[in-house]
Amino acid sequence: MIFIKRSYLRFIIIGLVVFVIVKAMDCFNVDYNLDKIFKTKAINTLENSINRNKMMINKINKDIINSENDLKQIILNRQQILKDTTDIVDQKSVLRTICGKTTVVGIGITISLADNINDPNMYDINKSVVHDIDVRMLINDLNSYGAEAISINGKRVTSSTEIVCSGPVINVNGEIVAAPFFIKAIGDPNKLVKAVTNPSSYAYMMKHEDGIGVKVMKNTSIFIAGKRDDFECRYIDNVEEEN
């Protein structure tokens, strides 16, 4: 009986040990499987994140290339704008001179026109006085002899200048100008002088027939200021190149 009991006991003990080992291995397997699942999931998640980041980096790189191209185009556009602006400024400069808006200097003549106070015409006193028409005719003659710029008592004469009597004075560019009149003209002095000294000229007739005081002098350096006005073109509604 005791011998049998020991056998049973050994059997039971071995059985218990095996049971414990098997049970432990089972638990281990469960933990291992869970661990494996979680780690697999982690690996997948990381790999997905990496792939997403790779795609985003690709897209960002493309966006960078596009933006760099856009920036290059904007800079090219700026160069064109600057070139156009320079052209406009150059054209403006030329036209300002043509319109008489700039101060200019050059060789030419100066003329003085004064009433005939020494020997006035008693029958027709008007003939002894310088009128607006006299100044207009002299300016016209100066133009026919190639004047490039003209002023009357410092007022620049342009295509829009009026020279009209206003009682005892003359209006030039909206300003009052009184006798004696000092007219400056830039151009070939030898030609311009003929506007006054040529017997067919109006100034010659004024001087020799009416005794108007006409004096002329050649000058190597004549300054003529530009016309200062706010001339607005409100009625011209279209301007185009002449073909």
């Binding site: 661990d35 494996k36 780690k39 982690a42 690996i43 990381l46 990496i50 980041n53 980096i57 960002i60 960078i64 933006s67 760099e68 856009d70 920036l71 904007i74 556009n77 700026r78 704008i81 602006t85 400024v89 403006k92 400069s93 030329v94 036209l95 001179t97 043509i98 319109c99 808006k101 700039t102 200019v104 200097v105 060789i107 607006d132 028409i133 207009r136 005719m137 016209n140 026919s144 490039e148 342009t158 295509s159 829009s160 200048t161 009026e162 020279i163 009209v164 209006n171 830039i186 151009g187 003529i224 073109c233 409100r234 009625y235 011209i236 509604d237 279209n238 301007v239 002449e242 073909n243």
Partner: protein, 221 residues
């Protein structure tokens, strides 16, 4: 058997851990790269924004200068212009009139044309032409033989003066009692003054070339 399966488990575990670590490092690197690139993209977009603003400002300046240029073109006499204004037609006295017999004609009374132009200018005329020849700062009106020399061209009667400006003011400046039109009529000329909503005044077509003058700024330079 237990040792073997434990070994296999442990080895597998090591591999997984190493894999996870390396993936983590790789992901970190990609995220850093992405961050840098995003910053670079932001910088370029900021540059684009500033460049666009600058271009807009330059374009505004260019447009303003263009407006000023446009105004100068209208004033210069070089370009064709159009607008509302008036026409003044002047005919010599009829051949059967005493004035004609006395030799009254626009050739020997050309000073009236200068008077008309001056009066139109006093009324704010923006552009004037005589028989389609633009009146400029350099225009001469000179009688030569049997014609008038205007801008180097031959001109004879009838004379048509066109002016762009305020129609009422232009008309009033020339056509009033004892005004220039009245005086022309008294001399025997036939004169008609009419408003016209579509005046076209030609330009000279070429820029004036100066031989004797220079702008004062050029001289200083």
């Amino acid at each position: 058997m237990q040792y073997k399966s434990a070994y296999e488990v442990l080895e597998g575990n090591n591999y997984a851990n190493k894999k996870i670590s390396s993936l983590q490092v790789e992901l970190d690197k990609y995220e850093k790269d992405k961050k840098k690139l995003l910053q670079k993209l932001d910088d370029i977009e900021e540059q684009i924004k500033q460049a666009n603003n600058k271009n807009e400002s330059l374009e505004d300046t260019k447009n303003k200068l263009n407006e000023e240029l446009d105004k100068l073109k209208k004033m210069s006499g070089v370009y064709r212009v159009s607008g509302k204004g008036i026409t003044i037609k002047i005919n010599n006295p009829p051949e059967d009139s005493p004035e004609y017999m006395m030799g009254v004609n626009i050739l020997n009374k050309y000073y009236y044309l200068l008077g008309v132009i001056s009066n139109l200018n006093s009324a704010g005329a923006e552009a004037i032409s005589i028989n389609d020849l633009r009146y400029t700062s350099y225009t001469e009106i000179i009688p030569v033989a049997d014609y008038l020399n205007i801008n180097g061209k031959h001109v004879t009667a009838p004379i048509e003066i066109k002016a762009i400006g305020d129609q009422r003011t232009l008309k009033a400046a020339v056509d009033f009692l004892q005004g220039i039109v009245d005086k022309l009529k008294q001399e025997g000329f036939k004169v008609e003054v009419e408003s016209d909503d579509n005046i076209v005044i030609l330009g000279t077509g070429k820029l004036k070339v100066f031989k004797y003058l220079e702008t004062y700024k050029d001289k200083l330079e």
